[in-house]
Symmetry: C3
């Protein structure tokens, strides 16, 4: 295996992985468009499109350099590496946008996406996968996080938590007596399509994060990573379905798909470290956490239409800690405490910095849409375009 | 070409093929969700999700070992091989679930999926692509079936036939005087999207089944296989369209897409054996068989909402026999009789074993939903979630 | 790097690129199905399916040979090369079909697709990427067009212009006083899904057009091409969004997606020639051109429901000229005049030849559907199948 050949094969491999991740763009868009009410569908799709455009752009121009310094890569085409890293950034912000949907204005959220992609997320990457400015400090992180249970998912989750605290719940979501009003998803096929596109994208996300396929060992690691990723998703879906059946005697598909996504998030920190059976347990706990966490967030009136806090924040934390439990390894310097330190450091930094930025943006240009515009729907007021103008509404 | 290099390239190639096959998961889901009535859409999506979860899981834990023995592969990463084989199993069961949709309960069907994926299908794989317990017996199969006209499609089809016999037709589908009531598809864009996702998945299904791309000969075979696969699909679509136009003066898109799928099934046994023109004929016959078979199954009151018997059973048989007609080759031990023997042996085994299992499950937990629940729709009763709650129904 | 190894890697690379392009088939189908009114959705989907079937088939049997002579390729599997080239042809015709949707009959349009795919488009390919019968003449084209700003997009655009002139505007689209009646898109999620599938397909379209990934230089070129392609799309979306916001205070998603597509078309002639910042400018101009061109075409009563003239014709021209502005290079014989000569030669040939063919077809079998059938919708009259039969219409 000459260096040139390895360079070529890994460039192809990373481009392939990049493309799979980009399928998550329509994936998130369809999932969210299916979950929100028809009056807010166009707005959600617009936000998803804006995020892809602005976040990728900001990362390419500014964020990449904060995370990794100047362009350049010796092991594959530098542009393939840029593409792959750039594909990640939109996902972090999609997590946020989904959770505050149906009440947030497009422009201030896009402004936040720019700052998140250009500065906040790149700092997180810097100290984990990148240049690592903390390297020589006492805060040096030893957390193992292959594909971002913390770097992507709980980073997105903490930011979402800050955003939900600032913008509040959707109108009429919680009654004064504390009851939760169920707001049904408007288009289940779109939710399902989106869920599976995300699932497929995960193969590129996690598989590509191995970084190289150009040796026998790495080829095995990539394939194991994808197998384990899938297994955790299967396991999360099965447990979520079983729990829903026991509890409500019904198979709620949005919860089953969220269970799968929870399993996928939970495996993301270490799919290359486990044997093929450990992901069954890790994913099952991930799926169960989604089912139990959703009502708890509602109890605290943290209104999250797509369940992103449960899927990404809770499972991002769980997945990172799971590495410390299942793959603790003194040779590789992986320990539970090291994982916990990483979770807390990144969590603290992300929550505080994104809270400050969101709070400031909110003062300059309110994130929350006006009450009557929320009632009428964001589509007419923000986009001037209804999602399904020809279909008569049942209510 | 060192063994290590071939190992790496084939691992990448098989992972790529695996990912394409997984696009068939949303493919089947969207196709079926588009064909059934709105009151049963969520249920169909739930079944598709459950099948992917449980069937993949059962195959990984049990079925794989029945088919292939212990893990291990010398030519590529063993986990890539597992992923690829695991991706197949869901497709077999999707064929079944589609054909019994709109009247079957999710839980007993999921239970059947587990047994099918863990035992029945793996036995079929064992005697064809796997360990081959029949090797030393007089039943030794010499059937050539590259990517599963028989192993996947007619296996799914025979099982579906058993299931339809047991569960019966949808309420009010056939009048007492023998007339067939047309039940229109509820969402044509989803049907089309699903059809094309399946088509794309087929490139991975058939191309990957060549097993290696890591020599000049194999690279040619893979490309030829994908070209021929596509050609048979084109040809099936064109013939189905032409026949519909001649017969009804209308271009029914569901029939055209089924014609394409029929063509794709029919080429699947031997796309690597034909020149680039033979698939035109084979796929055309496949497409025509769909058009002619659909009304025949209705005459026998075998109610199959998605046309899966015509697409998968009839064309699975035709495709396997076509190898014996177009690619008969004494050197490779391919003969019409050998193909026929394979079709009959697998068909007999699958139909009988799946009939027994389905019959037993049906006694323990009825497959068929209660009459009034069927009328109201499966979504409300099985899932507690309507697919499109905000859209007012026209009827 | 032995020739055999390069052959294998490039076969895999081109098959991967081919598959991405085929995602544009559902991409165009969903985009167009989402934009037209519900009464014409099935018809649009049927046309897209027929185009894929007939155009690919005609190109495989006849068109390929006009463009490239006999089969055969030394650098990769000849069948991979055929697949890749065949994937292009449907895109050219999709551009046309989208722009004349909601009033054109399926059969004469399919007939045109056959002639376009078998003869007209292959002649364009012959003189640009293929055998080049003009090579020894004074019309010898020196235009650089990596992936078809001219060969695909403006070729499709000129043909569409001819078709729109012949078939006229949709009923009631323009009032006698010259006002334009807005006809809203019926399904925004489908438009968005289609837009992103096209975007993803573009990575294969442009990346694969580099032709080889099997050297360090080519690996860099492929990755740079994909990065630049994406950047131009981002830039086009951002500018289109900004201009809509300034002009109408609303974020119209169909315009933003068309801005992205305009950016993608504009980069397609030379994504391998630019540095990573030039595509920002080129794509931004592309996105702006879409916003400005759409109302101009309406002023001339050239009714184009999907904005294809602005996206593909205008930006196809712009993208080809942009190579002459930004990448002019005496060593590679790239000059603005050479680019302009290519644009004009191909434009003149395509417009005249397709006008003659469409005019002749229109005499034999009218392209335009009858007035009352247009009012009732093409779906019932052409396909006998409504797209969403169960949803009650709001109007």
């Amino acid at each position: 295996m000459t260096p040139e050949l390895s360079y070529i094969i890994d460039t192809l491999f990373i481009i392939f992985s990049f493309v799979l991740i980009i399928f998550m763009v329509p994936g998130f868009a369809m999932l969210e468009a299916g979950i929100v009410r028809t009056k807010n569908v166009t707005s959600v799709l617009m936000i998803n499109t804006m995020i892809y455009a602005f976040a990728s752009f900001s990362f390419l121009i500014i964020g990449y350099h904060i995370a990794f310094g100047s362009f350049g890569n010796e092991n594959m085409s530098q542009w393939a590496f840029v593409l792959f890293q750039m594909a990640f950034v939109g996902k972090v912000i999609n997590i946020i946008s989904g959770g505050v949907s149906e009440r947030v204005r497009i422009i201030p959220l896009t402004l936040f996406a720019v700052i998140m992609a250009a500065i906040i997320y790149p700092i997180v990457v810097n100290v984990t996968w990148g240049l690592n400015i903390l390297q020589e400090t006492i805060f040096h992180l030893s957390m193992y996080d292959l594909a971002g249970s913390t770097v992507i998912h709980s980073t997105g989750g903490w930011t979402l938590l800050a955003a939900i605290i600032i913008v509040g719940a959707r109108n009429n979501r919680y009654s004064k007596s504390g009851r939760v009003r169920v707001i049904p998803a408007s288009n289940i096929p779109l939710v399902t399509l989106g869920g599976f596109l995300l699932w497929i994208g995960w193969f590129g996300f996690n598989g590509g994060s191995v970084g190289s396929i150009a040796s026998k060992e790495n080829a095995d690691l990539v394939a194991l990573t994808i197998l384990n990723t899938n297994t955790a998703g299967l396991s999360g879906a099965i447990i979520a379905g079983a729990l829903m059946l026991i509890r409500y005697k019904k198979l709620d598909i949005t919860m089953v798909l969220n269970g799968a996504l929870g399993g996928l998030v939970s495996i993301t920190a270490g799919p290359d470290l486990y044997n093929i059976y450990q992901p069954i347990v890790i994913g099952a706990i991930g799926g169960a956490l989604v089912v139990f966490a959703v009502p708890i967030f509602d109890k605290f009136r943290l209104d999250d239409p797509v369940g992103a806090l449960s899927v990404h924040l809770i499972n991002g934390i769980w997945g990172t800690l799971a590495v410390g439990i299942f793959a603790s390894n003194s040779e590789k310097e992986i320990s539970f405490l090291g994982q916990l330190q990483g979770v807390l450091t990144i969590g603290l930094f992300t929550f505080i910095s994104s809270y400050i930025v969101l709070f400031t943006i909110n003062k300059l240009s309110p994130l929350r849409i006006a009450h009557d515009e929320e009632l009428e729907g964001l589509d007419v007021n923000e986009c001037g375009v209804e999602a399904y103008p020809e279909f008569k509404r049942a209510f």
